[in-house]
Symmetry: C2
Subunit: 541 residues, 2 copies
Amino acid sequence: MHLGIRSNAALRSIACHSQLNSCPQRFSQKYSKMDETIDNASYIVDGVREKLMNDWKILQHVFKLVEKEDTFCANPELWREQKIVDFMQPDELKKHIDLTIKENETSTNSDIEQICQQVIQYSVKTSHGRFHNQLFGQMDPFGLAGAWITEALNTSSYTYEVAPVFSLIETEIISTVCRLAGYSQGDGIFAPGGSSSNMYGLVLARYKRFPQIKSTGMFGLRPLVIFTSEDSHYSLQKAAHWLGIGADNCIAVRTNAKGQMSLDDLEAKIKAARARGHEPFFINATAGTTVLGAFDDIAGTADVANRHGLWLHVDACLGGSALLAYKNRSLLKGLERANSFAWNPHKTLGVPLQCSLFLTSESDLLARCNSIEVNYLFQQDKFYDISYDTGNKSVQCGRKIDAFKFWLMLKARGYGKYGHLVDHAILMARLLEQKLRGRPDRFRLVLEQHEYSNVCFWYIPKSMRVQSSEETAEWRARLYTVAPLIKERMAYSGTLMVGYTPLSSRKLGNFFRMVFTCFPVLKTDELDVILDEIERLGKEL
Amino acid sequence: MHLGIRSNAALRSIACHSQLNSCPQRFSQKYSKMDETIDNASYIVDGVREKLMNDWKILQHVFKLVEKEDTFCANPELWREQKIVDFMQPDELKKHIDLTIKENETSTNSDIEQICQQVIQYSVKTSHGRFHNQLFGQMDPFGLAGAWITEALNTSSYTYEVAPVFSLIETEIISTVCRLAGYSQGDGIFAPGGSSSNMYGLVLARYKRFPQIKSTGMFGLRPLVIFTSEDSHYSLQKAAHWLGIGADNCIAVRTNAKGQMSLDDLEAKIKAARARGHEPFFINATAGTTVLGAFDDIAGTADVANRHGLWLHVDACLGGSALLAYKNRSLLKGLERANSFAWNPHKTLGVPLQCSLFLTSESDLLARCNSIEVNYLFQQDKFYDISYDTGNKSVQCGRKIDAFKFWLMLKARGYGKYGHLVDHAILMARLLEQKLRGRPDRFRLVLEQHEYSNVCFWYIPKSMRVQSSEETAEWRARLYTVAPLIKERMAYSGTLMVGYTPLSSRKLGNFFRMVFTCFPVLKTDELDVILDEIERLGKEL
């Protein structure tokens, strides 16, 4: 293959040339005494260059491999026989894939293909219809199409200069989501996950209240205090640590029977913080808690926030997808009154990971809060409208293009369809509850009815099916060991993946948390398959 | 296509069933009076489900399209005729691509293909051999292969449970990089970009010195102070803001003629901060500054840090790739003495964006600093070695798999080859300097010799070629307008992309910053092409 590449000899003379800082005439001194300073580096570089066009062909192999391995488990009829995971213990897995990285390793495209085959084989097929282990599930194919194009174009979200189309798309999505949320003057940014998006909310709220913190820090201030429910996501605590506020100043508010933040307890804790001379500034309401999928009363929380002059942020990372829903939009009632919210379309909607949005109702604040003078990137003397250079609103510099895959999905189906799919996922959750109630000796719900697409329940093995009077503390302690045991069997059988968790706010031990997402689009008889499989795996316990 | 899906009628009866919370017998009441409560939602959901297997075929179209559009500009012989970007002003571009998102939109796979074609057409081809606009350049094909597989498997880096292979791979890369850096007991994590990685350094240093900040915050403390050179990356200032330290407490240390942090000024400023009652705790040394590519004297900075008991972090986001180099490894001399460093293999090495590593020399600290109790994700009663659940060391929850694409590159070529490619990129930079010196009337270097793969220079248009005595302040002011004008012409011609920037620490106006990366693997005559093209674009200025 002719690539128009100079000969090794020429390259070697260039290397000499460089080392000597000599004049151009020296270029003609091929094979001179300076050869002794030459190592084989230029031969190696040459080799890489000559092979490079061929290397690009690896993409064809990879594409065929992804298809051949049926990575997406696209056909529901095959779910029964396809393993979600070919589980191995870490030490075992290390024997199957040579993980070591070496200084001198040369692989052919066929070697690489083989390695990739192994990686796919031993990875979890999260798009398998029986994967319900996390808050995300199967991808939307259009999302993956967008993700592949994003990767192929390999650019960064900071400037219109290097991301013209993607900058416009980010702006379009943010303005659409603001409109759907009822933010007439809003602004927003894509962040690398929900923890980051929640952190944006905290930083913005703090900046709004104490803009001087941007320059002088928090040292002179009374302790700033955050309020969030005991069932809310741990990212608020981690953020309190990182932002210098401290996890102790992230006050856990009690939840009610449905898992919602108690507004009475919230108000009492705000007053108590003030009474001890602290400075409340931020309330986080959760729209879709991680375990129970509970929605805090956003409108009621907004009333409390107003009364006390606090910033209201909504962690809608999970439940934000209800923005698009028809039957379940009311779960987010009051969202338009929040100062900011976070939403991860990569959870319920099936956008490939990562896709997280931070939105705020105030148009200018994000830019004022985060921008600084950056002459080499956000030059002010550019030849286009620099309002599309969104990067300075971010705390990041380089930033992955997370907008396009989501936009492509919305172009493919319209956001209304996702609304119906969200409703359907929630409907499936309600139907599962019914089915669980239909097997009362074998299953027990944690909540009679959950609000979103999570369903939490215990499985009661045959040996534990007793009169309610016999359900002692010991009985419960044993019950809490069941989910981890079945979980292990799930992994080895590869037939089903459903997460389990305890819930310390209710002093409850391990139970299953089944999560429905827009994809796979399940049918009711598939709910029976899930319960039957848990029974099968747990029958000898 | 038969997907084994229930009939609409059956689905409708399920929907009724759900609404009524009725007993299973009701399933037989098809077409009953409850039909009036049914809307067309289930038909829409049905439609999505029935079409889903066909939707996955979009990936074939996308793959073919990426090839057809020659997205990677893989053949160097075609670079002269291929545009890097088909530039349009934002308002113009909006007319060419319908960006709007609608509630009810239905696109065929062929519509989507057309949209994707437009997106590719109007995006910047960052893998084109004439793209030298950012600190990143062309991708390594094996990196993209890894990225596509990562996307196809759509999982998160937090637990071995959902990312068995990727968890092992992350651990393997971190231990290899620790070894290369001389950290015998190190640890690390992948972060979403260099700004985040630098923030990890700050948080870890702060935690080490004042562990109580994790729980009680920084309120009682004297102002904490950070030291970093005036030429260092803006992420340190942004981090100082976010972490509650304040940008004023991020002290800019002067740089010397080569762009390195002045150790005398550093020491003086540490003492001055102490004298005013502040609390120095962190020095950032930069290995590869953003504009000049200068390397601070890490070993010398380590001496200062030791003398004053401060944490030494190295922002090696750009220059960390010299870790692998043979001829240029000494740029990082002393790195083994740093407490932590950040490195973005997505810059010089050509790993697809984002790939950023944070490393620390202390094995346990990252986990102690960032972990909190997270019962639903990092359960302690799992059936495998939970030391592979790396997620709790992170400030994120869900975390993109950034390790695999890098690992696949290293498997494909061995890290030694990248070392030679890094040396080659630096060699090309030195050769460009020579060529610039060879055209003294037309070009002028900002530094006689840069240290890394950046080369900064001015172009002097014909009308400005004067005696040095005539190079007045007005002349310089005019010179500083040249790069933006040529940059605009670059964009419209699509033939070359090289960034420009001023440098306020030296009171210098706009100049070009040309950056070499491992890919494309350039030849010397291509350096002439770059300079010739700048001359062509600027000839009438």
